[in-house]
């Protein structure tokens, strides 16, 4: 059990190190940091001085060590474009992305799982067929198109909801939240739906197919033969057995929610990390890109770890097997 966890932590650490290496290579070799930092009119001597001052003449391994050490302390240098510490920039925008991603996940799960269970149990019903048809469209539509359609419908035509920004936010000192004002909540609705819709259809389809599979198993047949109620069979025995694959996908999906937040934030001009990242890509602002890369990797790896631990809670077989294998 402990060995299982330790192994997972070690694997996570390896992924992080690889990503950090990539971030370093990106940072050091893609484009010339000095050129990015100073204007055309700075003399060669001054450039060399700056180069030495930044340690760019040190052996590569020393530079890598310094990069990693700084990264551990969440120091990713100065943004080329904003001339501000990268961490300050990202930190200031993290709450916006976090709140958006959370709302989108809650929306996707709260609607997706029941929908999947329903369509799995009543697979021939009209509603199930309708949902399957619509979900394929949902999966095929690019996120930004969904966002644009929602804006056109609810912001331009109906004028019910705002089309961009976070609305009014409350500053809690370390965290600017939009969850405490009506305007902030209203502004959150369209972006959260846009971001969550793809995940919703994915989760619903997954839960559905897992339900169909589990409902065919012998132990469900046996549970029926024991005369258990449909409720106990569907929501106890069947749903619990779909959880392992569902948790896996949900873990991966939280990752892709963060990725697609980039798109949603662009559509809705949502002042989060994604918007910052996009402008960094457009302007080749490498320090921000490197920091974002590492941050996202850290989030993904953490989610994967949590997912692994959740398995252990859900499935008693892993408790034994995982420990034995390690």
């Amino acid at each position: 059990m402990l060995a299982f966890i330790l192994r997972r932590v070690a694997e996570a650490a390896i992924v992080l190190v690889v990503v950090a290496l990539l971030a370093f290579l990106l940072f050091r070799f893609v484009g010339d940091p000095i050129n990015q930092m100073v204007g055309q009119d700075v003399s060669i001597a001054e450039r060399e001085a700056l180069r030495a001052q930044l340690g760019l003449n040190d052996p590569l391994i020393v530079q890598l060590g310094r990069f990693l050490w700084n990264a551990l302390q969440l120091d990713f240098g100065i943004s080329y474009r904003f001339r501000q510490p990268v961490m300050e920039l990202i930190g200031g925008r993290f709450p916006a992305t976090f709140e958006l991603a959370m709302m989108a996940s809650v929306f996707a799960l709260a609607v997706g799982i029941p929908l999947g269970v329903y369509t799995g149990i009543h697979r021939e019903s009209l509603l199930s067929r309708f949902f399957l048809g619509v979900s394929l469209i949902g999966i095929s539509l690019p996120t930004f198109l969904i966002g644009i359609l929602l804006i056109y419908l609810f912001a331009v035509k109906l004028q019910w909801l705002p089309s961009y920004g976070r609305g009014a936010t409350v500053d809690l000192g370390f965290w600017k939240t939009g969850l405490l004002t009506a305007a902030g909540l209203k502004a959150l609705i369209l972006p959260a739906i846009t971001l969550g819709l793809f995940q919703l259809t994915l989760i619903a389809r997954l839960v559905r197919s897992e339900m169909l599979e589990v409902l065919r198993t012998d132990f469900i047949k046996f549970a029926r033969a024991r005369g258990l109620t449909d409720r106990a069979i569907h929501f106890g025995h069947a749903l619990k057995n779909t959880l392992v694959p569902v948790i896996t996908i949900i873990g991966l999906q939280i990752g892709s929610i963060i990725a697609f937040a980039v798109v949603t934030e662009t559509v809705f001009q949502w002042p989060g990390m994604g918007l910052l990242f996009i402008s960094a890509v457009q302007n080749a602002d490498i320090p921000i890109m490197a920091a974002y890369l590492l941050l996202v990797a850290a989030i993904f790896v953490t989610i994967n770890l949590v997912v692994d631990l959740l398995y252990v809670i859900v499935d008693p077989r892993i408790r034994v097997a995982g420990g034995a294998k390690a």
């Binding site: 690019p142 996120t143 930004f144 198109l145 990752g255 980039v262 798109v263 457009q282 890369l293």
Partner: protein, 312 residues
């Protein structure tokens, strides 16, 4: 409905018409529609220069006075511009046709690149094993942790930084192809590696080695046909993903520039005018994009189920 019809041995065509693949095709008219739609869109993309009423890439011919003309059937429509014009007076219909060409071009090339890289990496990993395999598959694992769109964005950003600010003409097109191609190779590599591992230990490979044929040549000749089915399925599904990814990157402003717009670029341009009521600039290209992605996706879905029900 003759009572003994079932007793007669059916002919080849009759049997083909009775096969499950054909049934799954005809039983869902949606798939037939998707196939026709894909063909139509591809044809209009290929023949865009002949079909399009205007040349949207020729900036000299644009007239700002024509800008933001609504579609023909609306108040203020102009019969030269069936679907209206964008903010530079570009004919939307022509821009969409050319954009379709660019979108499909980027996606097809990107998928081909991903396929080439993936199949080669899979063959090499499966055949040589050892540290080469570990290295390739480790990279694949790490990359798989990230959604393809992020990888594409990062590669895109890195490429931009490397090219510097000197914009090479047409560079954006190839940057897109490479960044999307490099984001999608993993799935091919995994599939091909699996088959290679199976094939490697079969007797004929050993025998070929004994008579001195280069085994790698054998791997190419024998493993490749075996994995062609799954690779094709992955490619079709990837094509839909590549179309969406290209559109998304262009929409985000890191894809094709407004001077050579893809469908995604057109939606990006139109997005700025959505609030002022000029919906056609964003929604027409968006609609075509949605149709294309949906049609290809349905074909991929169907192909996967029909060819290989086990493949997820």
């Amino acid at each position: 409905m003759t009572p003994f019809a079932a007793d007669r041995e059916p002919g080849l065509i009759a049997r083909a018409l009775d096969s499950d693949v054909w049934h799954s095709f005809t039983r869902s008219p949606v798939v037939v529609v998707a196939a026709i739609l894909t063909a139509l869109l591809t044809l209009s993309a290929v023949f865009a220069p002949w079909i399009a009423p205007h040349d949207p890439t020729d900036l000299a011919k644009l007239d700002l006075l024509d800008s933001r003309t609504p579609p023909l059937w609306l108040e203020g429509g102009d019969k030269r511009f069936l679907l209206g014009t964008d903010n530079q007076g570009r004919d939307m219909l022509s821009a969409i046709l050319y954009g379709l060409q660019i979108s499909i071009g980027v996606s097809v090339l990107a998928v081909m690149l991903a396929m080439t890289i993936g199949v080669t990496a899979g063959l090499v990993a499966g055949y040589f094993g050892g540290w080469i395999e570990s290295a390739i598959m480790r990279v694949a694992d790490v990359q798989l942790t990230f959604p393809a769109i992020l990888t594409a964005l990062l590669i895109n950003g890195a490429a931009r930084a490397m090219l510097g600010n000197k914009s090479v003409d047409g560079a954006e097109f190839w940057v897109l192809v490479v960044s999307i191609g490099l984001s999608f190779w993993v799935q091919y590599a995994r599939t091909v590696r699996g088959s290679t591992l199976v094939e490697k230990n079969k007797d004929y490979v050993q025998a070929a080695r004994l008579i001195g044929i280069r085994p790698l040549a054998i791997m190419f000749r024998h493993v490749l046909p075996n994995v062609l089915g799954p690779v094709l399925v992955i490619a079709t599904i990837n094509l839909a993903l590549a179309i969406i990814t290209e559109a998304t990157l262009s929409f985000l402003g890191v894809g094709l520039p407004p001077s050579h717009p893809s469908l995604g670029t057109l939606v990006r341009i139109g997005n700025d005018f959505l609030l002022s009521g000029e919906w056609w600039i964003a929604l027409f290209p968006g609609f075509v994009l949605a149709l294309l992605a949906l049609a290809v996706n349905m074909l991929g879905d169907w192909l996967r189920d029909a060819l290989n029900p086990k493949l997820r």
